[in-house]
Amino acid sequence: MRAIEIAGLEKVYNAGFWRKRSKRALRPLNLVVEEGEIFGFLGPNGAGKTTTLKILMGLVFPTAGSARILGLELDDPRMKAQIGFLPEQPYFYDHLTAQELLHYYGQLSGVHAKQLSRRVEAVLEQVKLSNSANVQLRKFSKGMLQRVGIGQAILHDPKVVFLDEPMSGLDPMGRREVRSLIEDLKARGKTVFFSTHILSDAEALCDRVGIIHQGELRGVGAVAELTAGVHGKVEIVWHGATVPAGIVTMGAECRSAGETMRVIVPEENQDAALEALRRERLRLISVVPMRSSLEDYFVAQLGVPLKSEVVSFRS
């Protein structure tokens, strides 16, 4: 069965005091996610990732189009009982403890009272919060809140888990833990749909990715398929501090590392770069082909990115 089916989903906001200015947050979006896959929904800030997730959660109403999750309508309580959701940068209830929070959510999700305590204990163990179970959430760090957030999303053993920027604000250890949790979910046959702007995480985790920009889906597919179409690059390292004129004219950024110089050029410029080095009798150290990354595909799809987007994608 298809876990998620999105057909022509559109969202236009009416902005301004008289609500006459329209802002198109989502252009007609068509997307299918199969059961059991980890799907990464990628895009810069403001691309429409969270809007899409909110429509799927029934928090925002679409202007047009429809979507189904596990074959059921978005407002069907039977569907809601089978999904879990972690919003971006959640805070939860200040005066509840982690244990109380999970109990509360478990009750609302219809987890049987007899199983609830065991399930809460198991989830706290899974997200490594057993030692903080009785601490009020207002004393939790950002990383701990993120983990309890994942806990509430998986507590009732949903079939599909939606995570909005699950790595947001986490240190490298925290991100590793979340990655491990997502991999564990996949191993248990769950479908995971997560949005992120950290491309390396998507590359490492996802079976397939979808890239959205300015409300429009620009590409969908397995990472390997998407990056195959991007022209490769080559890293050239030589001895010395001089940059040949032929390489300067390519506009490539050269970096010095001690007694060597390093440059990355498109594959098609490799021969010209090597010829430039040969003419100036510079000693070549290495020529290493570089695998196209998702970032390369992303930049290629979105055209010339804004500097801030490049910075966030390299975070």
Partner: protein, 258 residues
């Protein structure tokens, strides 16, 4: 009661009880009751009157502050903290959320009123040295104050469903003030003609009639409250609250939670 509504109500009560601001307000109210005892001792022969007046006014005022202060944030706070997103992604319908919040805050106010009432009766017992039969009027006055809180809670929740906390507080507070003069507004409407009469009458019946729910003066003077008034006010508070909550649900059901 629907189990999800019950769980949301219980959680709302728990959150309110653990919020220290509540304790400060209850403390203040109890302080006022204690102050009433001192004032009563200065006013000879009318100690009971002063204690009941001041005490019940303190209960009413501080309860109103609690109702508005917590009520205005019931929805907006859940949106800001994104807890509403995790709630509504579960099999929780939007009306269940509103209903749960309403019962939770109403329950909180009933508990608060109970503790503040203990303060008033303690003060009364102190100045009178014993409780008398006419003190039942104080119980009725307290019951009517609880009915006021129920209406205010519904109104705060109504405004919270679409407005910001600050505007919700302003609207709820001004409705309480105007509602306290609802009878005067109706009398004014009766004296006008034409369109003014239409508008004034509409406004008079639209605003909650808090004046009929205020029997503090009668309780202070030991005057009995007719049982018909008790029945009427109970029915009125129930119907008015249900109407306001229904409007809150209608608005909230259609709201995009950006």
């Amino acid at each position: 009661m629907n189990s999800r509504v019950f769980h949301i109500a219980t959680n709302t009560l728990r959150e309110a009880v653990r919020d220290r601001v509540l304790y400060n307000l209850i403390g203040f109210a109890l302080l006022m009751s204690a102050a009433a005892v001192l004032v009563g001792q200065v006013s000879i022969q009318i100690e009971r009157l002063v204690v009941i007046n001041l005490g019940l006014t303190a209960v009413s005022l501080f309860g109103l502050v609690i109702a508005i202060f917590i009520g205005i944030g019931l929805v907006s706070k859940e949106i800001d903290k994104r807890t509403l997103y995790t709630l509504l992604s579960r099999p929780v319908r939007r009306w269940e959320f509103i209903a749960g919040k309403f019962f939770g805050l109403s329950g909180t106010l009933v508990v608060n009123t109970f503790f503040m009432a203990i303060g008033v009766f303690a003060a009364l017992a102190y100045v009178s040295h014993h409780l008398v039969g006419s003190d039942v009027g104080v119980l009725v006055a307290l019951y009517f104050i609880v009915l006021q809180f129920v209406i205010i809670t519904a109104l705060a929740l109504f405004f919270s469903s679409f407005s910001t906390p600050i505007f919700s507080a302003i609207f709820a507070f001004w409705l309480f003030v105007i509602g306290s003069f609802a009878q005067d507004l109706r009398n004014f409407a009766a004296m006008t003609h034409g369109l003014t009469r239409w508008l004034a009458t509409g406004a008079a019946y639209l605003v909650p009639n808090f004046s009929t729910l205020n029997v503090i003066t009668q309780a202070a003077h030991g005057e009995p409250v007719p049982s018909q008034l008790i029945l009427f006010n109970t029915g009125y508070a129930l119907i008015y609250s249900v109407a306001v909550l229904s409007a809150a649900v209608l608005i909230f059901e259609r709201r995009n939670l950006k």
